[in-house]
């Protein structure tokens, strides 16, 4: 079966953008976490995600005509060309002080999703995607463990920590459904075994999350999904500010190296 090339470009770009934007947003916590060990942990997790983004975007760019590099894709695309889900790039707080609970909740949701995705993608018929996923699955396994440990600690901690992590989960949960939307994936790509249909990952995700939340004395949120559109390049206001910060150096000084 032939793997459709344009389908692979979009698919690898979307997964790469998820990892890239998650890494960039997580970086805001470095030197601002509640413990120095956590600063280090977040730095390491964001670095793993950045590495995954580099592999995926390099691959997507190599298939384009003319080819683009990972830096072209990260620094010189505009907002509407990014295909990431909205979950990963939301700001840590709408107003006021950012909450560590939001970081933990989002990390739990995103790492649980990524763990399932990469485990399935590791047997992709596309050798490059299989290679990236086979490597990444071992990394996100550690991320998921880390987020699980914090969820248990906060959920089953004090009344204050319990209420805050629950509130964070309720807010983040509105963006979970978008992780499993599959209309951006070329059906021929799934059929050829190159891509994973994200919808097939939902049951395993729900099972795992409900186990963790039950143990943490938390409840699975029942909230309506947000109106999204990240996979079509529709993002929220915060995206522009994030890109401005991420892209500014490369755009103000084209060709700069450091």
């Amino acid at each position: 079966m032939i793997i459709p090339r344009n389908g692979v470009i979009d698919y690898a770009t979307a997964l790469g953008d998820d990892a890239l934007l998650a890494a960039q947003r997580m970086g805001e916590w470095i030197a601002a976490a509640p413990q120095i060990e956590e600063d280090v942990a977040i730095g390491n997790i964001a670095l793993d995600l950045l590495g995954q983004a580099r592999s995926l975007l390099s691959y997507a760019g190599s298939l384009e005509d003319p080819v683009r590099t990972e830096d072209d894709l990260a620094y010189f695309r505009d907002e509407r060309e990014f295909l990431n889900v909205q979950l990963v790039q939301r700001p840590w707080s709408g107003s006021g002080e950012r909450d560590f609970g939001v970081l933990v909740a989002r990390m739990l949701l995103f790492a649980t999703y990524q763990r399932a995705l990469y485990a399935a993608l590791a047997t992709s018929t596309d050798e490059t995607l299989a290679g990236v996923a086979g490597k990444a699955v071992k990394e996100v396994d550690y991320h998921r463990d880390h987020a699980t440990m914090w969820t248990l600690r906060l959920g089953d901690g004090t009344d204050e920590s319990h209420d805050r992590i629950q509130a964070a989960l309720d807010a983040e949960w509105r963006y979970v459904a978008e992780l499993f939307e599959n209309d951006f994936v070329d059906p021929a790509l799934v059929e050829s075994g190159a891509a994973v249909d994200p919808a097939t990952l939902r049951d395993g995700f729900d099972r795992r999350i409900s186990e963790v939340l039950a143990e943490a004395t938390l409840t699975v949120p029942e909230v309506a999904p947000a109106v999204t559109g990240g996979r079509r390049g529709l993002h929220s206001t915060s995206m522009g500010y994030l890109l401005a910060e991420m892209q500014h150096l490369a755009r103000s000084h084209p060709g700069v190296s450091w």
């Binding site: 280090v40 390491n44 670095l47 793993d48 590495g51 990236v132 490597k135 990444a136 071992k138």
Partner: protein, 169 residues
Amino acid sequence: MVTVRSAAPPVEQAWAAAAAVLDPEVPVLTIEDLGILRDVQVDDDDQRTVRVTVTPTYSGCPAMDAISEDVRSALLDAGFDNVCVAFVLSPPWTTDWISEEGRRKLEEFGIAPPGRARQDGVTALSLTVRCPQCGSPDTRELSRFGSTACKALWVCQACQEPFDHFKSI
């Protein structure tokens, strides 16, 4: 022009040169000890052209550029003219590829070597991580993420010293 000096076959000379390159983040280990040097091939037609294949420990390992440069210099010094360093992700690196010699060097350097790698999401239980300073098994994990992607931070309850543990992956 530099001529290849010794009488060993070029591919063996090339391997020896690449294998001696030290990992920049754990500079007691060579890239061969670490198990990230995957392949060395010398061109059949041009014996001064060599291709070296390396795999990263983690996707985001920031040392890969430095390793690539170090491998290139080592091979140029060994008399090769055209050096290509390629990276592959598959099969994915595992700490099980660290050699016995590498594990011994890690311990001497004060880094507790890894236990067996985790299989398919199931954490392989290591009964204890021994303190590389005093040898006590009475240790505990402080943080699963340490000074570099491949290490976790532990502390010894006997001698009170913190230490790095090369985590299984």
